[in-house]
Symmetry: C2
DNA sequence: GAGGCCATGTAACATGTTACATGATTGT
DNA sequence: ACAATCATGTAACATGTTACATGGCCTC
């Protein structure tokens, strides 16, 4: 239920409408906690009902500006202090790897090769982002850099793993390729 | 919708009941694709309706043994050959990191320290598992080792990242700690 | 006055979790 | 006969996705 905390967090140093929060999300949190527009408007209403935010102003087109309440601030603090259980990862890639012997050698190489490319692309994307951050060192930038670093390291790890895994596959193929020639 | 493919995959080289599949899951796939009992029975019924599996035998206590059909085999092959889109990661840890400046220094250190411990524990668990696999080299063991290696590398990456991140935090603290003394 | 953005919402559906319900069979 | 295990299922709820609906405001 952490979309709730993401929204509370964004409201800490500014009041904003659902629409504003959506935009903020897309340019910041989207990569660690994707959420759709539907979800956000729904959650904001629930947040208001629960008294964690207030509708502090009504604007032009039915615009509702939300402001964090003390109760909301408390909830956010509680969440930050609470343990973060390791969440079970659901990975389609690893599921395919589990059944890799059901695929042809070409398919297996394609699966790993594709992931390697994806990881490289992701790494480049994040590198560019980090470069754009520049030498700033405000608290927000420090946080951002720490999160970014996670993504960079993950991408490197996946890239290297995919290469390694493809190499593990190779011997099997040599055997399969040699056998028909020998018979 | 990959629970479906996980079940099809498990049925490739054996027929089994829902109960059997549940057990198999818990001792193998659970770490890459967690699923509950409820979900599996439901999915098996849907799989049977769709003609991807057959109820090949009925046993003692209403036991239904499922067997993969040709259509099911095709669907599995199709899935393996289809691209694996990188799935957006939803990470509560990274969400907290994003808001790390809202926490006290102690809280921030606790969050990262806890993750470091979790990563170390996970690494130990997987190391033990790998040791138990031994020197076998059947196709299943090769797959298993590749998946395991992913987990090991991920755990190492998280451990190192958490240490690095904690170090990034330190300067901020020194400033905060030094300032009162200077005044 | 038209197109683009601002702004919020609903409906239908898919997926996943927890808890509960029910009962048969097997081994001791 | 009792407990453990086998075996399947339903109900309620939470979360998340996609698509659609509706309309106001602003700028050119």
């Amino acid at each position: 239920m952490s979309l709730r905390h993401a929204l509370l967090g964004l409201l800490v140093d500014r009041s904003a409408s659902g629409y504003d929060l959506m935009k903020l999300f897309d340019t910041s949190l989207a990569h660690v906690w994707p959420a759709t527009q539907s979800q956000m408007y729904g959650e904001l209403n629930r947040l208001a009902s629960a008294g964690l935010v207030d509708v502090s102003a009504q604007g032009p087109r039915g615009r509702k500006e939300y402001t964090l309440t003390d109760k909301g601030r408390e909830e956010l603090a509680r969440w930050l202090a609470a343990p973060t259980p390791p969440q079970p990862r659901r990975s389609e890639l690893l599921l395919k790897v589990f059944f890799l012997d059901l695929a042809t050698g070409d398919q297996a190489r394609a699966i790993l090769g594709e992931r390697e490319r994806q990881a490289v692309a992701e790494h480049e994307r994040l590198s560019a982002l980090r470069a754009a951050l520049g030498g700033d060192d405000g608290p927000l930038t420090v946080n951002g850099r720490i999160g970014l670093e996670y993504g960079l390291r993950l991408a490197e790890m996946e890239r290297d793993w995919a290469r390694w895994a493809a190499a593990q596959l190779a011997p099997r193929e040599e055997v399969a390729a040699a056998a028909p020639g020998e018979s």
